[in-house]
């Protein structure tokens, strides 16, 4: 089972991102469990969302304590002590950052300039679909085509096309940085 914890801010659309990924993973035969940490919705406030996927039904229903994948849709959240709780040397990080030299002292760190890509392609700093693209690049599933198939369940009309363009652009621009050397 893969356990994903998403750290984001209200308004970035990352709960929807977890649901887009979950829906696409179902298309690929996976069992999934996607849920946010529920609370009053406040734009800009830090929030967490969780995604589990597995080839077997998933029983455990607690927050993700030891994430295999940590998605950080706003790099400033890395300064909160909550964000790094329970991560290990094997945790895959997927971080939204505009910095070229960005690094973390972990082995598997992927970065994507999701905010600038979102502004360029959809004209708004809503990074959820960009982070979906980065996830696909870093983790290898779900496929781009599964995401294309489920996007219309979450977005209306013209937004589907533009957002899928954003998924692909983010997929292309997601890079693995070498966390080991940076210290």
């Amino acid at each position: 089972m893969i356990e994903v914890r998403i750290h984001s801010r209200g308004g970035q659309g990352m709960v929807t991102a977890s649901q887009i990924l979950a829906s696409a993973l179902v298309c690929e035969g996976k069992y999934i469990q996607a849920f946010p940490e529920f609370g009053p919705e406040r734009r800009g406030a830090p929030l967490k969302a969780y995604l589990r996927f597995n080839d077997m039904p998933i029983l455990k229903r607690e927050p993700v304590i030891s994430p295999n994948v940590l998605v950080v849709s706003d790099e400033t959240l890395l300064s909160l002590k909550d964000t790094l709780l329970g991560v290990s040397a094997d945790t895959v990080f997927i971080v939204n950052t505009e910095k070229n030299g960005f690094n973390l002292s972990y082995a598997k760190v992927f970065t994507v300039p999701a905010t600038s890509l979102a502004l360029k392609i959809i004209g708004r700093a809503i990074v959820n679909t960009a982070m979906v693209g980065a996830f696909i690049k870093a983790i290898g599933i779900p496929s781009l085509s599964s995401v294309e198939r489920v996007l219309p369940r979450f977005l209306n009309g013209k937004r589907v096309e533009k957002n899928f363009e954003l998924v692909k652009a983010a997929w292309e621009q997601t890079r693995q940085v070498n966390g080991d050397d940076s210290g």
Binding site: S23, Q33, F35, F38, P40, I58, L59, R61, E62
Partner: protein, 398 residues
């Protein structure tokens, strides 16, 4: 009963229409759509709202040909479906928390009139103080008012249960309203994999059979004054109808298995056969974590098991007693509090009384957990099992 970990039985018919990622709330809406419900009335309240939002969408885009009645309160919502059900319409409503409390008087009217209304209750804490989060405080105030009550543990089970409840409620031997309850937020807003079925098979499994009581061509009065020599007879007949519904529920489980290949029961058991210590739970978060805790404690060499109450009303006395009668200790994890009662755990009380009726007195622990959605970890359930093994009795407030 089947575990989620088991495959469906092979079927001669291709019954799966689609495999979707759905929240339990949307699973309800998809089931209600396929059941061709005629009248829906509801008032929005967290965490129920996304059920009726989805149903409003289905009605608006023509996927469901139903009368969608917007009302000013939950009291009116249930009153509308009461009236509609009396005219022979298949009805649906949903609510949570304060909305369920506001319905309370009408809950009694619907069951007293023997109307097969089906309602979803993603369960939530109640005020004061205000909490929008999940527990079962709302449901427990309405568990003893003549409704059939199921509590589910996965989105697939929620979907399947809605289908089953229409088949049970509208059966002429039953004619009782029914509630499908599940964890507010921890299930209502959690997306899971759900297999949805073909509409034609759903309507064959649960054909519309609501009796037409109100008919302009043949006017009658319903629920009129009943004086002492009659009133108790209505109430005793409700009592025997709810008791008797067990047989119909069992036959609906069999029929469901033949249509859709999942074997459901009144309870779900996990490694209980040789267990010395059993943790009894209801709802999805408690169940999933309890099963994980059994696996962890079994690895430590403890003979543990888990039992889930799926049908809360009518209470599965026999199944519970058969599962627990030979254990050295058990606990019941309640997500609601009975203030000032003989024990704070409402379902714990049911379990202890069931055992006492059959002459069993077993060391046990009443656990209160997840109140107002206080996070429940697998480790909490491991701790409960370990306390049981040590011989703990009494109350644990997690």
């Amino acid at each position: 009963m089947r575990m989620y970990t088991e495959e469906r039985a092979p079927s001669k018919r291709n019954f799966v229409k689609d495999v979707l990622a759905l929240t339990s709330n949307h699973a309800v809406a998809y089931a209600v759509r396929s059941l061709d419900v005629d009248v829906i009335a509801s008032y929005p309240i967290t965490p129920q709202t996304t059920i009726v939002e989805k149903l409003a969408e289905f009605v608006a885009n023509g996927e469901l040909d139903a009368e969608f009645v917007n009302v000013e309160s939950e009291h009116s919502a249930l009153s509308v479906v009461l009236g509609a059900s009396a005219t022979g319409a298949r009805t649906f409503t949903a609510t949570s928390s304060q909305g369920f409390l506001l319905m309370h008087e009408v809950l009694h009217n619907v069951s007293g009139l023997r109307l097969p209304v089906v309602m979803a209750v993603p369960s939530r804490a109640v005020s004061a103080p205000i909490s929008i989060h999940g527990d079962y405080s709302d449901l427990m105030t309405g568990k003893d008012v003549g409704w059939i009550v199921f509590i589910c543990a996965s989105a697939q089970e929620v979907y399947d249960t809605v289908l089953q409840l229409y088949a049970v409620a509208e059966d002429e031997r039953v004619c009782l309203p029914a509630i499908v309850a599940y964890d507010g937020f921890l299930m209502s807003h959690t997306m899971e994999r759900v297999e949805v079925y073909r509409d034609d098979l759903i309507l064959e499994f649960a054909p519309k059979r609501v009796k037409r009581l109100l008919d302009p061509a043949n006017p009658v009065t319903l629920g009129e004054l009943a004086l002492p020599e009659h009133y108790y007879r209505y109430k005793y007949s409700q009592l025997s109808a709810l008791d008797g519904s067990r047989e119909v529920i069992r036959s609906v489980f069999k029929s469901f298995y033949s249509y859709f290949g999942i074997e459901y029961d009144f309870v779900e058991r996990f490694k209980t056969e040789d267990a010395d210590f059993i943790i009894v739970v209801y709802g999805g978060a408690s169940w999933g974590n309890a099963v994980e805790a059994v696996n962890i404690t079994r690895e430590k060499g403890l003979k543990t098991g888990a039992l889930r109450i799926r049908v809360l009303r009518p209470f599965p006395i026999k199944e519970v007693v058969d599962t627990l009668k030979n254990v050295k200790g058990f606990s019941v994890v309640d997500r609601a509090i009975s203030f000032g009662a003989s024990t704070p755990g409402p379902v714990y009380a049911d379990v202890v009384v069931s055992l006492a009726e059959y002459g069993f007195s077993i060391p046990s622990v009443c656990v209160i957990a997840g109140i107002g959605q206080k996070v429940m970890y697998v480790s909490d359930f491991v701790r409960v099992l370990e306390e049981l093994v040590k011989g703990k009795e009494g109350v644990i407030l997690l």
